[in-house]
Amino acid sequence: MISALFAIDRNTPVIIQGITGRMGRRHAALMRAYGTNIVGGTSARAGGIAETPVPVFATCGEAAAATGAQASVVMVPPEDVLAAASEAIAAGIGVVVTVAEGVPVHDALKLKALADASGTVWIGPSTPGMARPGIVKLGFLPDISLNPGDWALLTKSGTLSYEVGYRLAARGLGQSIWIGVGGEVVKGVRFADLVAPLAADPATRGILLVGEVGGTEEEEFAAALIRHRFTKPVLALLAGRESKQGVAMGHAGALTFGETGTLSSKRDRLEAAGAEVFFSLDALAARAAALAPSSNQDQSEERAHGRPAAG
């Protein structure tokens, strides 16, 4: 159930699959420092790790049974993501975030079928993860860009979304929730899946969508806005205006063919659904600031000086 994402807080038990790897070690410690309740991890290697003193298990089933984990952050190489995430789904873990870039698309198809059949919320692949700023993060969204606030930030690209979060923070704006759906073609949670829960989320005053050329996800999102009669403001930033046909710029999902997935198709559909569309970072941030009822400078001060306040 997608609503599980909005219920994740500092009490939610989270495991890291691949916790003894270079990335797993580092980000387990960073997530823990942010406030995420890391209760354990899995690794093919035995033994614990110094950075995060939590139990390490051989399998996800054992980890879930021993810790009651409700969410998992999968930090394994792309070719191992299908096996690891399948294990998490089989263990009954409700939210699975896979950060790796480069997961084969046919693996993603298999994983999506598994996740859908079991009602698991899968975020990824190729994502920095998700966060409820000031409360919890699953993945590696940088603290410098996280700021508690009232905009839901939905993004394909990691780095571009960091830039957007950073600019918002500089203007005293922040996020109620931040979900990186990832830049791949086939993925778990898509932009459109988030419209209904965000319509119902009292902490969210509007949506900032960071999309890009390629695929049809922005178009699906626009259709969902209409279908759900979404009434909160929606501001969309679209990247890739200068991309070449048939060339995927880094993101596999950014491949364009003919008239499908072009920026003009996305802009037309989003605008028809009542969203405002921008092609520059500054224009987006300025518009979000103009819509803000008041600044929340105090929170951003606190964020800048270390551990955020409990939410």
Partner: protein
Amino acid sequence: MLLIECDGKALFEASGIPVPERVVVTGGARPPLPGEGPWLVKAQVPAGGRGKAGGVVFCATPQEVDRALAHLIGRALLGHVVQACLVEQAARGREAYLSLMVDPAEGAARLSFSDQGGVDVEAAARDGGALLTEVCAAEREAVGDAIERLAARLGAQSAAGLRAVGPALADLFFSRELLLAEINPLFLEDGRPCAGDAKVVVDANAIGRQPEIRRLVEARPAVYPDMWRKLNEGFDFIDLDPDGTIGLVTTGAGLSMMLIDELTARGGRPLNFCDLRTGQMRGRPDRLIRVLDWLAAKPGLKVLFVNIFAGITDLSEFARLLTQALTQFPRPDIPVVARLVGSGEAAARAHLAAVRPDLAAYTDLDQALQHVIAVSRP
């Protein structure tokens, strides 16, 4: 990544999908022509819409073939230079359309067939034309069932053509982990269908375990330069504008795309797209040195723009690697603008100021963009 037609047809042929007799010509002496003619001469560029752009020429005589080859090879077409042409016997018969693709929204496979193939099939489909589709689980068996369901909706000749080619196309789709396998036109004649074209999109993420696809890319570094670089260097670098003046040294696909848009909107001309993946550099400047070498070779280069938003990467280490790489940069006359923000920013700026005081360092993106534009004018 879209394969050029001759590579797609090689995959088709290996899977048992009939294709016309053909030869690939890359310039120089022309090999003997296949069969009696007439022939089609087709520019081999990885882009759709070749026919409308003049990249496909019908030739009745060998002299016409030679003229078409001389006209096409080396010419720019749809943003690519024509490195090779396919010369094949012009197939005859009724033209149909068949494709099997990944459906991202459904997380499924989508099988499509139309009785009316040809260059306008997509436009016809949008106008409510005769494109029939079946969406099913992305599994070989489910696609087999979908082929039967679709065939049941077709006339006798089309159904026979679909049943003859569909299973082989499905085998190819799953065994090679394709994103799209499209035949348009699919010629239907006398019970022996024939693929007049091949549009095959491969999954860059699966190339590591698809040696046959990898061989195709490795064999044509000039046709697939972006994928070739990704395979052999581990990061993305795409040439954008041969007359560009701004060399980008950037990380992150989405942010790099956005920077290209921002620079272009301000009248700048970026040379390239770049996603360094700084997180994978592991304390070595090699990747930066490669990018700087490629950019130094661009005749129009006026400025290097380094932009790193470091969420996790330590900027002080990056700054050290950057100054190391710059000592080997073959164009020391080129100004460098670096916009660095994130963890380790202060130490990074101190290092740059000490080692490369000439380098313009910024935290604010808009100021950095302004500086880059100002020095990028030819």
